[in-house]
Structure formats: structure tokens, C-alpha cells
């Protein structure tokens, strides 16, 4: 009773904290992590753990060097690490996730001021960085393992030399390689080639629905994003037949990108119309790059481009304050 605490109202706050939100995002990513192990064996988990470790260590190191308060307890670096891991092919050598994780938190996130201030999604930017640095490693995709044949540890053979000598079967996006036809069900479940976490649409959807119900992500972003991608791919005439539509949606980074990356708080707009334009832009650019671009996958570039536009969208699109009347109306009244 001696030390009564003083503060400005309100005196109570809601339960969620930055930390609890980030932990829920990690939980939402677990199905995708599990799926990556199911399809590619334990080396997939190893890659994700390396990437998480590097991302967390990168942030910790930056804080130590700058003598800032330690921030790794908020779990956002863990989210970045898991996302980056899920964005890598299973055949990358061990140093790729480590460098990527470091780059994501130290350069993309901490140099710009830390959580909430990064200009683009750290995991995605790191992915693009890795793609530019090791195009070969980053575009080699292999078939899922066969657990019955004792292949659980198969891809550890890539740890040092990458995909050399491993049969590369497919590229990320169905559209860019007409020679491979993947059954829709396989694409949905993830029984196909691709990055660790991109392949299983089912696992990503489970996580996405969880986050949407928990109101951690804005469901409008993935829905508008995916719908726009589908629409413009159709308009650009890249479908051979309607049956390919689900394949388009379930393959490549569209699910992972739209649910987990495009919805990043720091780099998505804060208003309804801002979100609409942003999600539309992501979808449009994805369709454009997928249909006409040189890279097999457009989702990363599309999201990062729209991330960079986000400050402008937030600057020019403000909500109408309650009770504010339109200027014309005020004039008429006069």
C-alpha cells in the first residue's frame, strides 16, 4: 500500500503481447515445419533450426554490439528464422541458412531499427539475397523422400556440397515448366518438389486459418492476394485448362507468402483500403512475374515490392475520422 503506482489511463490492458503474438505465429508455422520433415526428412528440420539459430543470434549480437536492450525474448527473430527456413530448398548446404538468418535479422531488421521498423519482410529479403547469391542452390528442388526406404536422413548428403549429384526434379512453379505435371492432390498435401515449407498447402492453410481466427493476421491479405493472382494468371492466358487453377494456388510460395509473409505487421498497411491495394498489388505482381518473368517464382519479389510501397500507402490513405464531414458537404452547408 505504500507505493501506489501512478499512470495515465487506461489502467488495464488486453492479454496479447508482442511475445505472445509471435509465439502464436510460430505455433501456426508448426504444421508446415512438420510437413517439411514428413516430405524431406530430418535435414529439413536441421535447416530450419540453423536458420532460427542464426536469426536469433544475429539479433542478439546486434543488440550486444550496440549495447541496446536485448530483444530476442519477443520471439520475432524465431518467426523470421522459421519463415526463412521454410523458404529454402532441402538441398542447400548448411551455411546458406546460417548466412540467410544473419542477414535477415542483422541487416534487414536491426539495421533499420528493429521490430516494426524494417522496410521489407526480413525472411523474404534474405531469401531474395540468397537467391541472387546462390541461384543454383536456391532453385534446385528434389522429390520427397520415401520413409519406407530408410531415407529419413537422405538429404544430409547435401549439407556440404548442396544439390550436386542429387536428382533435381522440378522447379517451384508449375507454370514455368510445362514438362512436369503434378497431381493436384499431391500439390495440396505437399508431395512434390519445392522449398521446405512451400509445398504443403494443407499445412499452411491450417496455420493460416488458426491465425485468422485468432485475429493475428488480417485474413483479407491472403484472400485478396491469392484471388488476384488467380484472376490475372487467367487473364494473362497462362492456363492450359481450368483444372490447373488449384495447382497454381497450391504450388510455389503463394500460400506461404500470402499467409505468413505478406501479413507481416511492419510491412503491411494499416488501413482497409491500404490493405486492399497492397494485397491486390501483391497478387498482380505475382501473376505478372510468374507469367512473363525470368524467375521461376514471383511471390517474394511481389511482396517485397509492395512492402516498399507500404509507407506511401499509409501516408496517403488515412481512415475517415468518425464525424468528419466531406469538404463538399461543408461548403454546401455554407
Amino acid at each position: 500500500m505504500k507505493n501506489l503506482q501512478m499512470s495515465v489511463s487506461p489502467h488495464i490492458t488486453a492479454r496479447p503481447t508482442t511475445r505472445s503474438i509471435m509465439i502464436e505465429v510460430v505455433i501456426a508455422l508448426l504444421p508446415a515445419v512438420i510437413a517439411s520433415v514428413v516430405f524431406y526428412g530430418f535435414y529439413a528440420l536441421f535447416i530450419t533450426l540453423l536458420s532460427v539459430g542464426a536469426a536469433v543470434f544475429g539479433e542478439a549480437l546486434y543488440n550486444m554490439m550496440r549495447k541496446r536492450k536485448q530483444t530476442i525474448g519477443d520471439f520475432s527473430a524465431v518467426v523470421t528464422g522459421v519463415l526463412l527456413g521454410l523458404n529454402l530448398p532441402v538441398t542447400v548446404p548448411f551455411y546458406v541458412p546460417i548466412i540467410g538468418g544473419f542477414f535477415a535479422t542483422m541487416v534487414v531488421k536491426m539495421l533499420f531499427g528493429g521490430i516494426g521498423r524494417n522496410f521489407a519482410n526480413p525472411a523474404l529479403t534474405a531469401r531474395i539475397f540468397l537467391l541472387l547469391a546462390w541461384a543454383g542452390f536456391m532453385t534446385s528442388f528434389v522429390s520427397p523422400i520415401n520413409w519406407a526406404n530408410g531415407e529419413a536422413f537422405k538429404y544430409f548428403e547435401c549439407a556440404l556440397k548442396g544439390a550436386d549429384g542429387v536428382a533435381v526434379v522440378t522447379s517451384a512453379t508449375r507454370l514455368s515448366d510445362d514438362s512436369v505435371i503434378v497431381p493436384v492432390l499431391d500439390a495440396f498435401l505437399g508431395r512434390t518438389g519445392g522449398s521446405l515449407g512451400e509445398t504443403s498447402a494443407l499445412a499452411l492453410l491450417i496455420g493460416g486459418i488458426f491465425l485468422a481466427i485468432r485475429k493475428i493476421i488480417d485474413w483479407k491479405i491472403p484472400v485478396v492476394f491469392i484471388a488476384t493472382t488467380a484472376f490475372f494468371t487467367l487473364v494473362f492466358g497462362k492456363f492450359q485448362n481450368g483444372a490447373e487453377l488449384p495447382l497454381l494456388l497450391f504450388s510455389g510460395g503463394l500460400m506461404l507468402g500470402s499467409i505468413f509473409m505478406a501479413t507481416d505487421y511492419s510491412t503491411s498497411p494499416n488501413t482497409f483500403w491500404g490493405v486492399m491495394i497492397y494485397a491486390f498489388g501483391c497478387g498482380f505482381l505475382t501473376a505478372l512475374i510468374r507469367s512473363f518473368g525470368g524467375y521461376p517464382e514471383g511471390v517474394s519479389f511481389a511482396i517485397v515490392l509492395m512492402n516498399i510501397l507500404t509507407p506511401l500507402l499509409d501516408k496517403f490513405i488515412l481512415p475517415k475520422p468518425f464525424g468528419k464531414q466531406k469538404k463538399e458537404k461543408v461548403k454546401e452547408a455554407k
Binding site: 501512478m6 508482442t18 475520422p321
Partner: protein, 436 residues
Amino acid sequence: MRITFKRGVHPNANKSLSQDFPIKEFPCPDTLYFSMSQHIGAPAKPAVNVGDRVLRGQLIGEASGFVSANVFSSVSGTVKAIVNNPTAIGGSAVHVVVENDRKYEEVTLEPIDVNDKEAIKKRIFEAGIVGMGGATFPTHVKFAPKEKIDVLLINAAECEPYITCDYRLMLEKPAEIFKGVEYMMTALGVEEAYIGIEDNKPRALEIMANMETDKIKVVPLKAKYPQGAEKQLIYAILRRTVPMGALPSAVGVIVDNLHTAYSIYEAVALNKPLYERVMTVSGRGAAGGNYLVKTGVRYQDIFDYSDVGEEIRKVISGGPMMGFSQANLLPSVCKGTSSLLFLKEEELNESEISQCINCSRCAKACPMHLMPMMIERVVNREAADELEKLNVMNCIECGCCSYSCPAKRPLVASIKKAKIMFKAEAAKKAAKGGNK
């Protein structure tokens, strides 16, 4: 579709801590401290001298100006001193200190004609009636609008967590409340009144709905904070939007708190000036209850009576969303004191302030549709010229933004600062314009 406004938050209501305690007379202490600033506006002028004997219901502070209100003694006794004493909203005010002689000798106001519009208006001023929800705006000022008024809204939403005094009044004094509303309608010359009650109070809704008349309707509202904020209440019930910067009278509406209606009943029908009110004592750190408390009772007296535990962290005058934390227990109960809360740490759910993650939860919660995170950034950069675009003056300081912030940032504090910066900037601009 449940009747409500857009956005807002859902804090844990915590009404069960006190809602089932019937209104009980709070034991009167020996010494009472009557603040001369129990309302918004100019403080009342002490109308008594040290040594004077006063009666219960006697004027001890006289309204000084139009936006001011009379203050009455709630006991009979002797004026011991006239001193400066801390108030619950921060700062201090002149207080008349009365030694209670426990005789409770009483004076009342002259009876009036309850059908006479002007007489009721005059009585509202005489009896020192102010808004009793916490804002304490003198009611006679509200009842002299420039615009034509066609609807009276009674705010019985009681959307602040913990507080149950209006709820108890509805259960125990519904007939008196309806009478009060009738007097208010007579004074305003309106034919239509609505009493808005949140639907998390089914018993109150049932009792009040049974008394409904052709002119006075009871409206169930969705339980959501800040349902009782007047602009939100007007939008919810009437779908009228009060323009930015304007008062409810701009759309033909007057909004008053339920307890105000009850006190107007007492002033008009019983000729009793406003010197006592029903208030809630709650929080997990104390024994809760609803009490008829005399103004002038100090918070220390309530503390002593309420079996307060050792581990309380905050004492709050008013609700947890908009109330004031207290540094000590020297302030006294005023006309607008709806509750005194003794909160433990577990109720505050505090954690360290961290960096804004730009999640826009504050914007999604803001009932005035503002962008609190942007206002905070502009305040931190001291860029006063950018505040106009962000419409800071539209903020009602309801606390939804700070409440919903996962980084626990004190957004309301920033916006309060922003308002000061905005006013200073506007004054600077006006001064420059004048020089030309």
C-alpha cells in the same frame, strides 16, 4: 443485429465483483472535505466561513459563473477549515472541511411545479446537478443548447469495467429514474427519450423494459467498450453522427448519465440538492460493494472500511479505462465519483513497454477512427504541423488504443501530449496571422 457503434474493445467486465451487493448507506466519517471543484468549469466560491454551523443540504459553495455548479454540505456540523486539498483528477482545489455533529439536521430546497419547464431548468442549476458518469459537466449548461433538441438519450451502458452503481440504481430505483427522465424531457421540451443499457445486464434490462412508456424507450446495446461514450451512443441508438468538434446538440440530441436522471428526480420531486450519490467500491484488492456515499467522504475512509489487502498496486478513481490513478488517499468523493477501485497486479496485466510493431490493433480499436500509432510517432518527432492531418482533437481518450497495444505503449498519454502540441501550434499560427 445488436445495436452498437464501430470498433471498440472488449475488456473483462469484472462486474460480478460488486453487482450483487445492494446499495447500502456508507457510514459517515467525523470529518468531511467538500471540494469546490466537483465539476468541469470554474470552481465554486465557498459560501461559508470557518466556525459557521451548516446543515445537511445547505449551500457551502456557490457557482461562480455559467459553467460552474453549486456545492452542498452532506452533513450538519461546523466548518472547521477552508483548505487546499488534492483532488482525484490530479492537482488540488479549495475544500471546505466540515466537522460532522451526527445530528443530520437538514434544509431542503423550495418545492417547485414539476410541469414547469423553466422551473425544472432552474432547479437543475440550483441543486448543483452535474454529469455523474465522470465528466461532471454542469447539467444546466447542457440544458441550454443553441440548437433545437428532439431526443434525450440516457446513458445506462455502464461500459467501464467494474462499475455497477448505475446497474444497482436500475434494479432498486427504476420508478424514480423514469420520473427523473420525465422531468428532463419536460425541461428540454422533447417527446422522445431512449435509455441505452448494455446487454450484459439482463436483469436491469428486464426491469427497465417493464417500465417503458410511449415516450421513454429502453434500448439493449451490445456490450462493448466505449458504448457509453456519447458520440458512440448517439450513433448506436439513433444512427446520427455528431460532426467532428461539435457537441451532441448539433444533431438534436442531449445525452445524460443515468445517475444524473436519478439525482434530477431527487432535486425536483424531493427538493434535495446533489450531495450524495451511489458509488461502487471494487477491485480484487478490496471487499466490493455499492454504497450511497456522501460527497466529502475521503478515499481514506473508504479504504479503511473496505478491508483492502496489502498487495494492491493501484487505486483508481473512476473506471479502469478512463479513471485516475491515485498517489494518496486524501481526495474526497465528488458528484462525479462513480467508483473507487483497489486493483491488484494480476488485474492490471502490465508488462514492459516495447517497440511498436505496427500491428494496427490501436487503429482497429479506435472508435473515433484515428491512427494512434501515427500520432505517437509524430509526437515523438515533435512534428506539430503534421498533427492536423491526423485529427488528434477528435480523440475522446477512451483508452482503447493503449488497451489493445501488444507492445503496451502508453498511446493515450502520447495523444494527450499531441493535443497540447496541436493547440500550441494553432495558437502560434493564429499569432502569426494576426501580425500580418
